[in-house]
Each structure stands twice: as structure tokens, then as C-alpha cells.
């Protein structure tokens, strides 16, 4: 049940996206007119210092945050106009998210964590696919462990498996190694990029690490809520 679109088609479109929080006089402009087009299969790094608006841009692109203005289309869905439930359905199987703090479901085992998005998507073979996905990230021996029984690196592997299991159109990863030591972080990135290459999805990585950004095909730099530079690698 892959939702990966043909290579070269547009999967993300953002036009004049703005985001402001709070009320005058304490109103803060977070995003100030973002325009963006992302084609299927791209790997993009969103680079910028703290407070530049990277995570907020990811939040509006994934529907976690409603933009103040502008238009957003992700995998064919008008993300800016959908309500909470419609956004949940839109994300289902199409958008995979990996967060810095892992955010695994603490009362479910690794296998159940990975199976949940598949079950929500109505897959009959959810547990078989979840098992395969966990074996692919090297956690075949930790299937029935709860998050509290896993190391940070293992938890992030489960999170990657969970994000990739439904074969999403786009994978968003927000500082995926921020909570890990350098060695483990390196392994997680290798895994993330390897799984990305196999899946054919679009990868959108938020980072302030130029080395990580260098591994992506396209780097978008953000400062003070605006795109300030953009470059492509080989």
C-alpha cells in the first residue's frame, strides 16, 4: 500500500505561508512569506539557527500547526484548510514524522508502536509489516520491548520504522539525532538515509548541523522566518 508518487511530480507546494503567534502588542511573526516547491524523491535539509522558524515550517507543512496565511498542499491535500480530524486522515499513510524526542507510545511495545499507523490505515497485515520494518532497522530482537526498556538510539530506530512503515509520500525528520550521542546519531542518520533511498519517498530533514545538511540533495536555509538561501548538491 505505497503512497509514493512518480518521481518528478510535485509533492509539497507552499505559497506565501505566514505564521504568527500571540496577540498584539506581543505578537511574534514566526514565518514571513515562505514559497516552496518540493518534487517527489527529493531529500531536503532545512538549515538554520535556533529560532529561525525551521520547526514551525515543518509544523505547518505537516498540519500540526495552522498557518496564519498562505496556501499549502502536501501529497494533494490542502493542509491549511483542513480541520483536525481531516488532517489526521490526510497524514494517515502519507506523511511520516520522526521527532527529536522520539515520542513513542509508552504503553505499547516496539512492534505495536510500528503497527499502529498501519492499523489506523486499515492494513490487515499490520503486524507482519511492522515486524519486517523493525528487522530492517536492526531491532528484530526487540519487538516486544516497551519504549522504557530501549536505549535512545533504539527508540529512534523504532520511530524511523514507524514513520516509514506505511510507505509515506513524505518523511519529515525534526532534529532526529538531537537527543543522541555523536556515534549513535551517525548510525541513525545512516539508517534514515538508507531507508529513505529504499523507500523512494521525499525526505525533509530539519537540522542546524551543516554536515547532515550536506547529505541531502537540496539545502534550504532559513533565518528570521524567511528563506535566505537555497542550493542543490550533485
Amino acid at each position: 500500500m505505497s503512497s509514493v508518487p512518480p518521481s518528478g511530480s510535485i509533492v509539497i507546494t507552499a505559497r506565501n505561508v505566514t505564521l504568527a503567534l500571540g496577540h498584539p502588542p506581543a505578537r511574534v511573526e514566526i514565518l514571513r512569506g515562505i514559497d516552496l516547491d518540493v518534487t517527489a524523491g527529493e531529500s531536503i535539509a532545512l538549515l538554520g539557527p535556533s529560532g529561525s522558524g525551521k520547526s514551525s515550517l515543518m509544523a505547518v507543512l505537516t498540519g500540526l500547526e495552522r498557518p496564519t496565511g498562505g496556501e499549502i498542499k502536501v501529497a494533494g491535500f490542502d493542509i491549511a484548510r483542513l480541520d483536525e480530524d481531516a488532517l489526521a486522515v490526510a497524514r494517515r499513510g502519507r506523511i511520516g514524522i520522526v521527532l527529536q524526542a522520539f515520542h513513542l507510545l509508552p504503553t505499547m511495545t516496539a512492534l505495536e508502536n510500528v503497527a499502529v499507523p498501519l492499523e489506523l490505515n486499515g492494513a490487515n497485515d499490520a503486524f507482519d509489516r511492522a515486524r519486517a520494518e523493525l528487522e530492517a532497522v536492526g531491532l528484530g530482537h526487540r519487538l516486544n520491548h516497551y519504549p522504557a526498556e530501549l536505549s535512545g538510539g533504539e527508540q529512534q530506530r523504532v520511530a524511523i520504522a514507524r514513520a516509514l512503515a506505511p510507505r509515506p509520500t513524505v518523511i519529515f525528520a525534526d532534529e532526529p539525532t538531537g537527543n543522541l550521542d555523536t556515534a549513535t546519531g551517525g548510525q541513525i542518520l545512516d539508517l534514515l538515509f538508507a531507508r529513505f533511498a529504499e523507500s523512494g519517498a521525499t525526505l525533509f530533514v530539519i537540522t542546524h548541523d551543516p554536515e547532515l545538511a550536506a547529505r541531502c540533495g537540496r539545502v534550504i536555509e532559513l533565518a528570521d522566518g524567511r528563506i535566505t538561501a537555497e542550493r542543490r548538491h550533485g
Binding site: L64, E84, D85, A88, T107, M108, E119, L120
Partner: protein, 804 residues
């Protein structure tokens, strides 16, 4: 739905422990309701079973101060096997000890027609005959006699042939002043206590042919022997008063239990709130993964439902066993042993109320969990703590309506239930407002300079503080305790104060007219200067009001004055402690058509005015009298008072005896009793102190039941307190870490929390003192119409104990 089930079970399996507070509160609340309901049902069922036994037959005909005529007795015997018993009060003496007041019964050879009369092992035969008597164990102890010894009652010396183990119709005898003594009719004749005008009651119990309707048979007998003072009683009537008392007490306790359940509901709210509050990021993540709000709500509803239903089921099991538990540990305190069994109705009511309360209080937290946005993954959102939506509020209003409707509709006295629910709701609302007020007031207090005290104080009003909730949860139970102590001690001091200062030391009954001089002399020997009040007395019943027969009135008036025959007197002068509030008292030498004066309470109950007429049946003779005066009577002094007083004249011809009261110092009771018993053994002396003790004991028993119910509300409140501490655990740990980072010692961190709970305990104690005292004042002054004089030392000791 299957996915929701799977996810709910998965979440419960690893995280269900967080719902312990929900489980505990529902278990406690449901068990209390189911237990009280089952106990009341089991006692009522036992009374249903024992109706015939309590009455002593299928039909009872009762008359005062005379035995059936030959014609009457023949008519009763023609219906079926008939037994005759005669009951009166008397005095028993033995071994030179002070005479003891007894409840004396003479029974014929057929008694008891229903049930079995049993004596304790060691008796000299199966039943008393001739000059022998069976006596209650309490009397044997008091007089220091054993089986085979002799006691004196009236003019007879009787051998104690056994100690009573079971008197089957004991409950049907009504309020007893002393321990029972049973003898046959020959023995009773030998006592010579049955004199013209003596106060005694004669009962004829009959066993009817199968299928006969006791009420119809009784009415036919009344038609055959009208206006002769007969009253009928059926097995249903025999247990009616007790049924009503148990039903009302059960209902009251059930409503207190409902209050406990409501308080437990707050614990449910706290517990569910804390549980779902800890799931915010999980909910957000599920939404990120594609779960809709409806699915989230269904998952948690299933989780709460599973835990809630299990707890309610456990509560029902415990509640169902309460009759057996109470019978095992406090069976003697119950009027009848409960009929053990499963009573589905109270269990069903308890389960339904438990479910409604659980849903009502869990709903806001469920609605908040449903509304958690996916963005909560990124930051804590204050929006998730917003007020419930109109839809949720509407649903809660419906649940409250269902709760009230169920509580009121399942009650036998719906008006009382509605009043109680209204009062409890008002009290809870008042406590809620008080709690909110305290929280706001604390917020306005200038911040102390000491940081730990400042922290303790701010903990009482900071966002998420449970102060107002705890004031409601624990305030009700504590207030009930304070109210009980103030009422109890007010009643106690009222009785204590009244007895020595104003009340007589003794009431004397069955004093024959010719014995007045001997009586005065006997009292004077024991207490020279003692005061005696004497009044003629006879029994009569109101049979017509303003010329209309009471038994033909539609609807029949429901007044205490008409329930049975009453003791009356005549007097030329206005009796002491009485004052005329309407009409005029007759002249001292009045000698005209019968006139009466009635008490104001009786006049109000029967809607009577000066000039109206009452027809009274006195020993089978109808006397129609005009009301000349209405009196206000001061009952508080416990002196001799009569609701109906005749003007002297024609009525003086009626057979009568005298009633007397003896006033004297409080240290001569023994001498008075001995002197009167020696001179006039047929006179019955009733010590005022004994009546007060019996009343105190009765009040004490009811107070124990109410205290038990109050304890359940405190237990529920304590669960809420524990829940509140648990719910704020995360915030407290955070505070502790920060304080330690800033240099606070372990003792200082603990000290800050101790100060906070000390302040909270003081606030709760203050609330309980104010609310409980107000409620105690209302019940004492407005319901009992007594002076509110609580024992503040007792209140203080209970109050400080509860506060801690």
C-alpha cells in the same frame, strides 16, 4: 470499534494502573450504596416474613382497660383459634433491692398462636403457670434472682420458672419501659394489678381460615361491636411503623451514600483527569499517526468503562454481602435479623448511579483528551485546559438530571428524597463556592517573606491547585461529623439540664383513688418536703370530629391524635405549665354540658377551633364535648401534661385511676421507690432518668448509623485527597528539584509541603466547624425545637481529631 478495543486493551495492559483512583472511588461509592440498600431490603424482607409472628396471629383486636365481654369473646372464637393477652406496666421486687419497672404480660394457654415461646436452658417447665413467671434476663440481673427464686409483683409472690430466650411477638408490643415478665392469666389476677381505671391493654389474636382477608374480618367485627373501643391490627399493620422507620432511615442513609458517591465522583474526575492528562503527548502522537478525535474518545471511554465496570461490580459484590457482615458483627443492634439473600433492586440502583456518576465526572477530562491537537507534541497547550464545550455541558446536565431522577423516583418518600437531594446539592454548591472563595482569598493575602511559607501558600491557589475541590470533598463528611456532635451534645445537655432542675424524679401510674393518702405518706417518708402532682386519668379515643365519625371520613385524617386511644384527665383549674391561647378556662365550680380543652399541637393537627366539638369514646361510652379553650403546653419540663383535659362533671363518673409525679432531690430515688413499693406494691413507678436513658440509647443507635454513613463520605473524600496529592505529584517533584537546585535542604522541601497541608487542614476544619455548626443549629433549633447548647469541648476534640 475493533481497532479501538485493541488499542484500549493495549494501553490498559501497560498503563491501566493510572486508573486506580477511579477504581477505588467507584468501588467505595458503589459498595456504600449497594450495602445500605441491601441491608434495608434484607431487614424489610425479614419483616415481611415475620408479619404474622410479630402480630401473633392473622388478626388482632385490641381494647384498653377492659376484657372482652362473653358475646365478644364468643364472636372471636367463632372465627378461629383465639388467644388472649393482657399487657401493662408494673413493678417487681426481690432480695430487698430497689423495685424494677417491668413490662408485664398475662397470657392464656393458647399463646403464642404463631411462632415459638422459648426459655433459656435450666427453666422449670415450658411456660409459666399459676404463681410462676418467666422473666427477661435483664430483670434477673437487676434483681439478683435466679430460676427458682421468688419475686413480688403487686400482691403476688411468683416463682421465677425461667429466663425468656424468645418472645415471638415482642416487636409487636411497641415501646417498652422495662424488661418483660410473662405469666398466665391466673398469675396476673393474683397480682391484683387489674383494677378499675388501671392502664392495661387486652389483645385477642386470631388465626383465620386460609384465604380469609384479615382487614375484612376485622372490619366486620368492628361493625358488630361499634364504639366499644376496639381497634384492629393485621400482620401488615404490625410491622408498618417499624417498616416505615427502617425505610426512612435506609432512605436517609442511601441519600448520604449518594452524597458519598458524588464526592467519590470528584475523585473519579481527578483520577481520570490525571490519567488522561498524562496521555496528552500520546493522544497527539496518535493524531499525528492518523487517529481521529472520535477514535481517541472511544479508546479512552472503553478503558474507563472496563475499569469502571469492574470496580462497580466489585463494589456490588461487597455491598451484597453487607447484610451478612452486619448481621455477623452487629446483629444485636438490628430490630430483626436480616433475611440473607441477593436483592437485585438496590444493586441495580447502585450500579446505575455509579455508572452515571462515573460518566458525569469523567466527561470533562474525556472531552479534553478528545480535543488535544496534534500540535501538543510540540509544546504544552493551554487550550487543552479550556472549559468544556456546550455539547459536553449539555450532556452533563442530562446526566445530573438522570441522577436526581433515579434518586428521587426510586425513593418511597419522593418529597423527602427531593428535599435531601436539593439540600445536598445546595450544600455541595455552597462548599464549592466557599472553596473557590478561599482559593481567591489566599491568592490576595500578601506574600510572606519566608520562601517556604510563600511556596506553601501559593500552592493553595496556583493553577492546578486542588484546594476548592478538597473543601467540597472533605468538607461534607467533616461537616456531618461536627453537625452530629453538636446535635448529640445539645440533645444530651437538654435532657441533662431538664432532668434535675425541672423534671419530676418519678411518674407513678395506676394509683387508685383511695390510695392517694397512702401514696402521699409514702413519698413524704422518703423525701420530707417532696412535691407531688396528682391527676385523675382515664383512656379514651377520638371517634368523631365536629360530629363527623373519624372512621367514615374520606380521606381519613392522618394525625397522631387519632392513631390510638389517649390518656386524658379532668381539672377544675388550669394545669401547671399550661397557658390558654384561645377561648376561656371554665370556672372552678363549672357543672354544665361536657367541656374540654385541647393542646395547641392537637388543635393544629386536627384543624380545631374553640367552639368545635369532639366525640370521645371512654370505655365504650361516647361523650361529645365542646372545646372551651386551647392551651399551649410546655413539654420541655417533662412534667405531667395532657393533650385533652375535661371540665369536672359528668366525666368524673368514669372508672379512673390517678397519675402522679414526684419532685425531689436527685439522691433519694432509691428511698422513694422502696417506700412506695412497700406501701403500695400495685403502683408502677417510672423513673424519669430511665426514660431519658432509653431515649438516649435510641438516639445513640441512629447516630451510629449516621456516623457510619458520614465515615463513608470521609473515606470517599480521603480518596479524593490522595488523588489530589497524586495528581499534583509531577508538579511537586518539579518544585522539589528546583528548590534543591537552589540550595534547599530535604527538610525544607518537606517543611514547605507540611505547611501547605497544615494550612489546608486548618481551612477544612474551619469550614467543617462553620457548616457543621450551622447544620446542627438548624436541626436542633428548627427541627427539634430545642435550645442549641452544644458541648464545645466534645466538638473541639472531634473537630481537631478529624482535621488531622
Amino acid at each position: 470499534m475493533r481497532l479501538a478495543w485493541r488499542l484500549a486493551l493495549r494501553d490498559l495492559r501497560a498503563g491501566g494502573r493510572g486508573l486506580w483512583l477511579l477504581a477505588l472511588c467507584l468501588f467505595l461509592g458503589t459498595a456504600a450504596l449497594a450495602g445500605i440498600g441491601s441491608l434495608a431490603s434484607s431487614i424489610l424482607a425479614a419483616l415481611d416474613d415475620q408479619g404474622r409472628t410479630v402480630l401473633g396471629g392473622d388478626l388482632q383486636m385490641r381494647v384498653s382497660q377492659r376484657r372482652a365481654t362473653v358475646e365478644e369473646a364468643a364472636a372471636f372464637s367463632a372465627i378461629g383459634p383465639t388467644s388472649e393477652t393482657i399487657a401493662l406496666s408494673g413493678m417487681a421486687q426481690a432480695n430487698g433491692r430497689p423495685a424494677a419497672l417491668i413490662d408485664l404480660r398475662g397470657v392464656d394457654e393458647r399463646w403464642p398462636l404463631v411462632g415459638a415461646f422459648r426459655l433459656q436452658p435450666g427453666a422449670l417447665g415450658n411456660r409459666p403457670t399459676g404463681l410462676s413467671a418467666a422473666i427477661g434476663p435483664a430483670l434477673a440481673e437487676r434483681l439478683g434472682v435466679r430460676v427458682g427464686d421468688t419475686i413480688t409483683i403487686g400482691s403476688a409472690r411468683l416463682k421465677v420458672m425461667g429466663l425468656i430466650a424468645n418472645e415471638p411477638d415482642q416487636l409487636g408490643q411497641g415501646f417498652r419501659l422495662g424488661p418483660p415478665v410473662i405469666m398466665d392469666l391466673a398469675g396476673l389476677d393474683a397480682t391484683r394489678l387489674l383494677q378499675p381505671g388501671s392502664l392495661y391493654q387486652v389483645r385477642y389474636r386470631m388465626v383465620l381460615p386460609p384465604g380469609a382477608d384479615p382487614t375484612a374480618v376485622g372490619k366486620k367485627l368492628l361493625q358488630r361491636f361499634p364504639n366499644l373501643g376496639w381497634s384492629i391490627r393485621t400482620p401488615t399493620d404490625a410491622t408498618r411503623t417499624l417498616r416505615r422507620a427502617i425505610d426512612q432511615l435506609g432512605q436517609f442513609l442511601l441519600l448520604v451514600g449518594l452524597s458519598a458517591l458524588t464526592i467519590a465522583g470528584m475523585g473519579v474526575g481527578s483520577g481520570v483527569g490525571a490519567y488522561l492528562g498524562g496521555k496528552t503527548r500520546m493522544v497527539a502522537m496518535l493524531k499525528v499517526l492518523g487517529a481521529r478525535s472520535g477514535l481517541i474518545a472511544t479508546i479512552f471511554l472503553l478503558e474507563l468503562g472496563l475499569v469502571g465496570l469492574t470496580s462497580i461490580a466489585a463494589g456490588l459484590v461487597l455491598g451484597a454481602f453487607v447484610p451478612a457482615i452486619v448481621a455477623a458483627i452487629a446483629g444485636d443492634a438490628l430490630p430483626v435479623p436480616p433475611r440473607l439473600g441477593l436483592y437485585p433492586a438496590p444493586l441495580a440502583i447502585a450500579a446505575t448511579l455509579g455508572l452515571i456518576v462515573a460518566l458525569l465526572f469523567a466527561l470533562p477530562a474525556l472531552a479534553r483528551a478528545r480535543a488535544v491537537p496534534a500540535a501538543a507534541l510540540l509544546r504544552d497547550l493551554l487550550a487543552t485546559r479550556s472549559r468544556p464545550s456546550t455539547r459536553v455541558i449539555g450532556l452533563m446536565v442530562l446526566l445530573v438530571a438522570a441522577l436526581v431522577a433515579l434518586a428521587v423516583l426510586t425513593a418511597t418518600d419522593r418529597l423527602l428524597a427531593l428535599g435531601f437531594v436539593g439540600a445536598t446539592a445546595g450544600l455541595l454548591l455552597g462548599l464549592a463556592l466557599l472553596g473557590l472563595g478561599i482559593r481567591r482569598a489566599v491568592a490576595r493575602i500578601p506574600r510572606p517573606k519566608r520562601p517556604l511559607l510563600r511556596l506553601a501558600l501559593t500552592n493553595l491557589h496556583r493553577p492546578g491547585a486542588q484546594t476548592d475541590r478538597l473543601v467540597v470533598a472533605l468538607g461534607l463528611g467533616f461537616s456531618l461529623f461536627v453537625a452530629l456532635v453538636t446535635i448529640n451534645s445539645s440533645l444530651g445537655s437538654e435532657m441533662r439540664d431538664a432532668a434535675p432542675a425541672k423534671a419530676p424524679r418519678f411518674f407513678a401510674v395506676d394509683l387508685q383513688p383511695e390510695d392517694q393518702a397512702s401514696f402521699r405518706a409514702a413519698v413524704a417518708r422518703a423525701v420530707p418536703g417532696g412535691r407531688i402532682e396528682l391527676a385523675p386519668s382515664f383512656r379514651g379515643a377520638i371517634v368523631a370530629i365536629k360530629g363527623e365519625r373519624v372512621d367514615r371520613m374520606n380521606p381519613p385524617p392522618d394525625s397522631w391524635m387519632l392513631k390510638s386511644d389517649r390518656t386524658m384527665t379532668w381539672s377544675a383549674t388550669l394545669p401547671p405549665r399550661n397557658r390558654v391561647v384561645a377561648g376561656r378556662w371554665w370556672s372552678p365550680n363549672y357543672n354544665g354540658p361536657p367541656l374540654i380543652s385541647i393542646g395547641q399541637d392537637a388543635a393544629d393537627a386536627l384543624d380545631l377551633k374553640v367552639g368545635d366539638s369532639l366525640t370521645l369514646s371512654v370505655l365504650g361510652v361516647d361523650v361529645r364535648a365542646r372545646i372551651a379553650a386551647i392551651r399551649a403546653i410546655d413539654w420541655s419540663a417533662m412534667g405531667m401534661n395532657f393533650a385533652i383535659v375535661f371540665a369536672p362533671g359528668y366525666i368524673q363518673e368514669a372508672p379512673h385511676s390517678f397519675l402522679a409525679t414526684i419532685y425531689g432531690p436527685d439522691n433519694r430515688d432509691g428511698e422513694i421507690a422502696a417506700s412506695v413499693a412497700k406501701s403500695l406494691p400495685s403502683v408502677t413507678l417510672i423513673r424519669t432518668g430511665d426514660i431519658i436513658s432509653q431515649l438516649s440509647e435510641m438516639i445513640g443507635r441512629i447516630a451510629v448509623a449516621i456516623r457510619g454513613a458520614a465515615a463513608v463520605t470521609v473515606a470517599a473524600g480521603t480518596a479524593v485527597l490522595i488523588g489530589a496529592v497524586a495528581a499534583s505529584g509531577r508538579a511537586r517533584r518539579y518544585d522539589a528539584v528546583i528548590l534543591k537546585l537552589l540550595g534547599a535542604s530535604r527538610a525544607q522541601v518537606l517543611g514547605a509541603q507540611a505547611i501547605e497541608y497544615l494550612l489546608l487542614a486548618l481551612l477544612l476544619a474551619l469550614v467543617a466547624l462553620i457548616v457543621g455548626t450551622a447544620a446542627g443549629w438548624f436541626v436542633t433549633a428548627k427541627v427539634f425545637d430545642l435550645a442549641f447548647t452544644p458541648d464545645w469541648a466534645a466538638v473541639r476534640s472531634r473537630w481537631s481529631y478529624r482535621a488531622w
